[in-house]
């Protein structure tokens, strides 16, 4: 890849990150000049308490000084104190991080693999029974709100059929350890993970399919057939590697969607991750926690975008250069 390409992408990602930090800082100061007033809307606080809170949140001094103080705290890894638990936001987020990584990571991978496989088959034989049914199904899953799908499957599989637990990370008061504990946790994760994967598989299938449709017409496929390659070989060796490129760029976008989708889905399955933490912070409202979560979600998606951009440049020399 050309160094210019890499530097450009890295700078772009950094500028987005700075923008997020600025938004994060000023958002809580747009509505009300005094964040303490808006944060504690409807609560009775004495003037003395307010003063102490202002100091605690670095609210003395001009806006620019405040922003400086905020950025310094941020760089040193301090995201403030949660209003609900009175513990540092970083600790709260750190505890909720792994369940979400496990859930969102598995769901993203699952939806990508299944969606790409379905899209390849559908796009290769256009208007076949498989194509028509899978495209219709994709459109349908695209229209279903993820949290409603979560409610339905919880009602059906956990309450009615009792195949899956109704929520949580593991059985309450479990003494299992090692492999048994892992199996228990996987059993708890299966349903929310399937819901997220189903809710976002359609997008991959649709994009992969239309990318295959574009590729099918290319001359190099004719050439590959003329060489005498069998249909399967033409597809696997020549069509798919080219058609999969748009899916690469979609994956960063979709990662953001799955991450967002996990907010409601985690809450429904009481999966103790970032999503459930977000809902609890909304209920508060716990603004320092919301700020921290927004920053983390944004940073994750910005990083995913950067990785995907660089990967795309590497895979497609027309974009990234040699």
């Amino acid at each position: 890849m050309r160094p210019r390409f890499v530097i450009g992408k890295v700078l772009g990602a950094l500028s987005t990150l700075v923008f997020v930090v600025v938004v994060n800082f000023f958002l809580f100061r747009i509505v009300n000049d005094d964040p303490v007033e808006s944060m504690f809307r409807g609560r009775n606080l004495s003037a003395d308490q307010k003063d102490r809170l202002r100091q605690q949140f670095n609210l003395d001094g001009s806006k620019l000084q405040q922003f400086g103080a905020y950025s310094r705290e941020l760089v040193s890894g301090n995201l403030g104190i949660s209003l609900q638990s009175r513990r540092p936001v970083t600790t709260e987020i750190g505890e909720a991080l792994w369940p979400t990584i496990a859930l969102v990571g598995t769901a993203t991978t699952l939806s990508m693999v299944v969606g790409v496989l379905v899209g390849i088959r559908a796009g290769w034989r256009r208007r076949s029974a498989f194509d028509v049914s899978s495209t219709t199904l994709s459109m349908f899953t695209y229209s279903v709100p993820d949290f409603w799908l979560a409610m339905l499957s919880l009602g059906l599989f956990s309450v009615q059929l009792r195949i899956f637990p109704t929520g949580g990370l593991e059985d309450a008061g479990t003494t299992a350890s090692g492999l048994a504990l892992l199996a228990d946790r996987l059993h708890h994760m299966a349903l929310p993970c399937l819901v997220l994967a189903i809710a976002y598989v359609g997008e991959y299938a649709i994009v992969m399919r239309s990318s295959m449709l574009d590729t099918v017409r290319e001359d190099y496929l004719q050439l590959a057939r003329a060489k005498g390659l069998r249909d399967v070989q033409v597809r696997r060796r020549h069509a798919v590697p080219n058609a999969v490129l748009p899916v690469v760029s979609l994956s960063a976008l979709n990662f953001g969607f799955v991450l967002s989708g996990s907010i409601a889905v985690e809450s429904i399955f009481s999966w103790p991750g970032l999503g459930q933490a977000t809902l609890e912070a909304i209920r508060g409202p716990d603004f320092p926690m919301l700020q921290g979560l927004f920053l983390l979600f944004s940073a994750a998606v910005i990083a995913a975008n950067l990785i995907v951009d660089l990967l795309y440049g590497y895979l497609d020399p027309r974009v990234g250069g040699r």
Partner: protein, 287 residues
């Protein structure tokens, strides 16, 4: 795109069965939403007026879709909820398209540094995950129907801006625009007479596809407790059903209808929008 005439559009549209079904479904829901004040009495939505009703009642002759944990009719909530969901969906789309088109046209037309600045800004918004941003915004602004509309439009305009800008860039280079300029047309004249008519079909198609996204976002925000607390909406019904424990009670009649409503409307808009997009953009036709 300019070669598509009006009768051509109508003819193609009539041939597309799915789009036609989508349109009919939408008209049905629109009628329901518009007639909601006459179909549903306000008292049917109030917990106080429903005190005498049985709670958690299964669907019956008296309550077609049963009652909720407060004894309110679920059917009444469904009808009233369609109003808010469709209203928010449409209004948010109008604002989304307005902001996106304005940014796209200005960027595409002005070029140079203004274009670069606006597109940088658009890219920032494109990358930031939009539900967390919407959540933070809604949490700061407080709960209310106009806040929800504002939050949705301020987070979803960037893709429209990109689309419109790309189209403006191609229209700008056409010969007739040069000709108009040579004849002394002002920028405003060129935009109004030449750019807008050429970009409008694209804006229309993108608007039709933006409505279902807006409706889904409204539903999600309401479900997360960030919607208007005073108005029944499908998302709010689902939130209340979940909070009241409808799932563990197997009260499917409480949380099924609102979801079916959302899926039907979103699917109908998507089918209709895709058909419109295909008709207006012939390159997509043989997909």
């Amino acid at each position: 795109m300019t070669a598509v005439t009006r009768s051509d559009v109508l003819r193609r549209f009539r041939r597309d069965r799915l789009a036609l079904v989508g349109l009919i479904v939408l008209l049905g829901f629109a009628a329901m939403a518009l007639l909601a004040p006459w179909l549903v009495d306000d008292s049917a939505l109030s917990a106080v007026a429903s005190l005498d009703n049985p709670t958690w009642a299964k669907p019956s002759g008296e309550f077609l879709l049963g009652t909720d944990h407060l004894g309110r009719s679920v059917a009444a909530q469904f009808i009233a909820g369609s109003r808010v969901s469709l209203f928010v969906g449409l209004m948010a789309t109008i604002f989304t398209i307005a902001i996106g088109s304005a940014v796209g046209i200005v960027a595409g037309f002005a070029g140079k540094w203004l274009d670069a600045t606006l597109m940088r800004f658009t890219d920032w918004f494109l990358v930031i995950p939009f539900l967390p941003l919407a959540i933070v915004l809604a949490a700061v602004l407080g709960r209310g129907i106009w806040n929800v509309i504002f939050v949705i439009s301020i987070t979803s305009w960037p893709s429209t801006a990109r689309l419109v800008r790309a189209q403006v860039l191609t229209v700008r280079e056409r010969l007739y625009v040069d000709r108009a300029r040579a004849l002394g047309a002002t920028q405003l004249h060129v935009i109004r007479r030449h750019v807008l008519p050429n970009v409008a079909p694209l804006i229309l198609a993108s608007a039709t596809l933006a409505v279902p996204i807006s409706i889904l976002t409204e539903t999600t925000l309401s479900f997360l407790g960030l919607g208007d607390p005073t108005q029944a909406s499908w998302g709010k019904t689902l939130e209340e059903a979940f909070q009241a424990g409808a799932i563990s009670r197997s009260a499917w009649w409480y949380y099924l209808p609102a979801g079916v409503g959302i899926v039907t409307v979103v699917l109908a808009f998507t089918l209709f929008g895709r058909a419109l997009e295909e008709i207006l953009d012939p390159r997509l036709r043989d997909r």
